[in-house]
């Protein structure tokens, strides 16, 4: 373009006339009506219209745009945010490459039955596409994730968008909850519409979750009251804080043991009826086992031996009565196998667990006689002693390798607990390895619903770091102290989320569980080495994160996060945590890199 041409406005400059508005402004009206506090996005031209409406028309508030460096981070943030706050976050992404980046995180949320609200940009009209809009354009954008979202739609008009956006929210939030996708045509976002064209925002009315059939609930209550050793197993049970309250009430009414499998914060960790730390023994003792929203009931009552020739065995008594209460019986898909192995049961109640608890509690209380109350009390005393002994064993186990370097994971958790136990804390990290051998759940006093946010759902690594930031984002307005035990391998998937935490001043203490490798995977390779009798000494190849060691403190510092480490002497840990916590209490993120033992 010549200088003269640049200086001369083209004749067809187009701006909105006074009597016009753009379609994406209406989209923001709808999005605001749904109560989204934030929308996470890595910027993309296919949703530039909505992006602009969010920041200008919407005032960049409710929702506020959160800048992410990867769509997987956007979705994982939304995933954990929901579990801390009970409300979904919105995510904006390109219909092709953005969704491809986001796919694993959407799958995690699907497996975890967590609603994430995904808005995809796409340009449907091929006659209007710019060059980039061809490879960012797609006939059916949501097709690639349709197997693991609950619903999706591609609205063809703004009225259609309004209805589908509200419908999508309702579907996502109705148990079993799951992600949803709305594809937004670029033209629909950008083309002007007359202000005279009045577009109503549909009213949202969430559906009441389904309760169990009353006859089935009565039958379950009779079985529980008559049982000598009933066991309540909860996994994705507590959708709301009231879920914890209800499970405590049921357990105390029966003086029954509880195993909290941890996909949600279901039961206080130090409640005397909590038998989680002696889970296998508790399952073996039980004559009635009730799975409450348990994602893998087969593995709760059976075991699989992972050897060259795999074998299975029943862990529960052969005569134990097995009951399930789950929305998993209401909704299942074919392709992805997250529904797990089928377990034969004696009673299956297809209903939401939390919604069913009030009627179950009422029936149990109604059926409990004085004689049974005395039996319950004796049982409760035995379970209290068993959980006390388990807690004592955990303390003693944690004392081993106390002075060792690298730092033991038990020591890491104990030191962190010492620093936060008098605060209003929330452990926002959660995954198989960041669970650090279960030390936090064995040693800490989890009593509030937001103190434990469950797992990734689908086992997709890379969830931990962005989920921690998402959980911390939810905790921010409540003034809670968010802490994360962050594994090294997980952080390396998308470390840019540390920048997001710094940029948006999200207070979060990340304590690195830096064992310099993907040790779970190393174990699998070693298992193969053993089975094939070829020697184990090369089993680490492909699973180590060393040579060179990664300097996580400098990585964090480069993104504006206060950081210390690497710490190898366990006696240096407490002072470093105190310094980092001082930063977090000022409202900023901080990271302490701790070189740890493997698990």
């Amino acid at each position: 373009m010549t200088q003269a041409a640049e200086a001369t406005p083209p004749a067809d400059v187009q701006v909105l006339a006074d009597n016009e508005r753009c379609g994406s402004d209406y989209m923001v009206d709808v999005i605001k009506s749904l109560g989204f506090e934030y929308v996470c996005a890595n910027p993309g031209s296919s949703f530039r219209g909505l992006h602009e409406s969010v920041i200008n028309y919407g005032g960049n508030t409710a929702p506020e745009l959160i800048t992410c460096c990867h769509e997987e981070s956007s979705v994982a943030m939304a995933h954990a945010y929901f579990k801390a706050e009970g409300k979904p976050l919105a995510v904006m992404a390109h219909g092709t490459v953005g969704l491809q980046h986001a796919a694993m995180a959407i799958y995690n949320a699907w497996c975890d039955r967590v609603p994430v609200y995904v808005l995809l940009g796409n340009h449907l009209d091929a006659s209007e596409r710019r060059a980039a809009e061809w490879y960012h354009g797609v006939q059916d954008a949501a097709a690639m994730v349709r197997d693991y979202v609950k619903w999706d739609d591609t609205p063809h008009s703004l009225a259609h968008f309004g209805e589908s956006a509200v419908r999508a929210y309702k579907i996502a939030m109705t148990p079993p909850m799951a992600p949803v996708v709305i594809t937004l045509d670029g033209g629909l976002q950008e083309h002007p519409v007359s202000r005279d064209h009045r577009l109503a925002v549909p009213r949202l009315t969430l559906a009441s979750p389904p309760q169990g059939d009353s006859a089935a609930v009565d039958e379950l209550a009779r079985m529980l009251v008559a049982a000598e050793s009933p066991l309540l197993v909860a996994d994705r049970l507590a959708r709301t804080p009231n879920g914890v309250t209800l499970l405590v009430e049921l357990a105390e009414a029966l003086q029954a043991g509880v195993i909290d499998q941890g996909s949600r914060m279901n039961f206080p960790s130090r409640h005397p009826l909590n038998q989680t730390q002696r889970g296998a023994a508790a399952v073996g003792d039980a004559d009635v086992i009730v799975g409450l929203e348990v994602s893998d009931f087969w593995s709760t009552v059976n075991g699989l031996r992972d050897q060259l020739h795999r074998s299975t065995r029943r862990v529960a008594r052969p005569t134990a009565k097995l009951i399930t209460v789950t929305t998993g019986d209401l909704y299942i898909r074919s392709n992805y196998q997250d529904f797990r192995r089928m377990q034969e049961v004696d009673l299956a109640i297809a209903a939401d667990g939390e919604a069913t608890l009030p009627s179950l509690i009422e029936a149990v209380k109604r059926l409990t006689t004085g004689d049974r109350t005395r039996v319950f009390q004796e049982r409760g005393a035995r379970l209290t002693e068993a959980s006390r002994a388990a807690a004592e064993r955990a303390r003693v186990a944690a004392s081993y390798a106390w002075e060792a370097s690298p730092v033991s994971t038990a020591r890491l958790c104990a030191e962190l607990w010492t620093q936060i136990k008098n605060e209003d804390w929330s452990l926002v990290s959660s995954y198989y390895s960041p669970d650090v051998g279960g030390w936090a759940r064995r040693l800490w006093d989890f009593s509030r619903p937001y103190q434990w946010l469950g797992h990734a759902g689908g086992g997709g690594i890379g969830y931990g770091a962005p989920a921690s930031v998402g959980g911390a984002l939810a905790n921010k307005k409540h003034g809670r102290l968010s802490v994360a035990i962050q594994t090294d391998g997980d952080l390396m998937y998308a470390p840019g989320v540390l920048w997001t935490a710094a940029h948006h001043t999200i207070p979060l203490l990340s304590v690195m569980h830096n064992n310099r490798g993907y040790h779970m995977e190393a174990m699998h390779v070693q298992r193969m080495c053993s089975a094939r009798d070829r020697g184990i000494d090369r089993g680490y190849l492909g699973s180590e994160l060393s040579s060179p060691n990664i300097d996580y403190a400098r990585l964090a510092q480069s993104m504006g996060v206060y950081a210390e480490g690497p710490i190898e002497n366990p006696n240096d840990l407490a002072p470093a945590l105190r310094r980092a916590l001082a930063v977090v209490k000022k409202g900023e993120p901080a990271l302490v890199d701790v070189v740890t033992q493997v698990r």
């Binding site: 050897q307 944690a398 081993y400 390798a401 002075e403 051998g437 279960g438 053993s530 493997v598």
Partner: protein, 118 residues
């Protein structure tokens, strides 16, 4: 294996001590070799760096099960632990690992650790 049993027998005859006591006096060379092997063949992946155990494997030290049972279990484990044949881990090497485990430091009394107060 023969070498270990012979050594144990000789020590028993000489000192009149119990077998358990004798097994707690491995040489520095054994301990060093055992430490290297413990890591090299991946014991630490489940039983953790100091043999203290974890979510994936039980504690092995500082008071391991008797050596014959230890060897028997490594060869034919009952649970998920992968088997280690004599081809990849000799009995002498297992004895060295055993020596490493025997000499792990006992923890301080748990009630003396403020961070582990109930």
């Amino acid at each position: 294996m023969q070498r270990i049993l012979l050594a144990l027998l000789m020590l028993f005859v000489v000192s009149g001590s119990s077998r358990t006591t004798l097994a707690q006096q491995p040489t520095a060379k054994q301990i060093e070799a055992g430490a290297a092997l413990y890591r090299k063949v991946g014991c630490f992946q489940c039983h953790v760096n100091e043999g203290q155990g974890g979510a994936n494997g039980p504690r092995l030290g500082p008071n391991p099960i008797p050596l014959p049972r230890f060897i028997q279990y490594v060869r034919k484990p009952a649970g998920d632990m992968p088997p280690y044949s004599a081809k990849v881990l000799s009995e002498r090497e297992l004895g060295d690992i055993y020596a490493f485990l025997q000499t792990r430091k006992a923890p301080p009394p748990v009630n003396t650790i403020p961070q582990l107060a109930p």
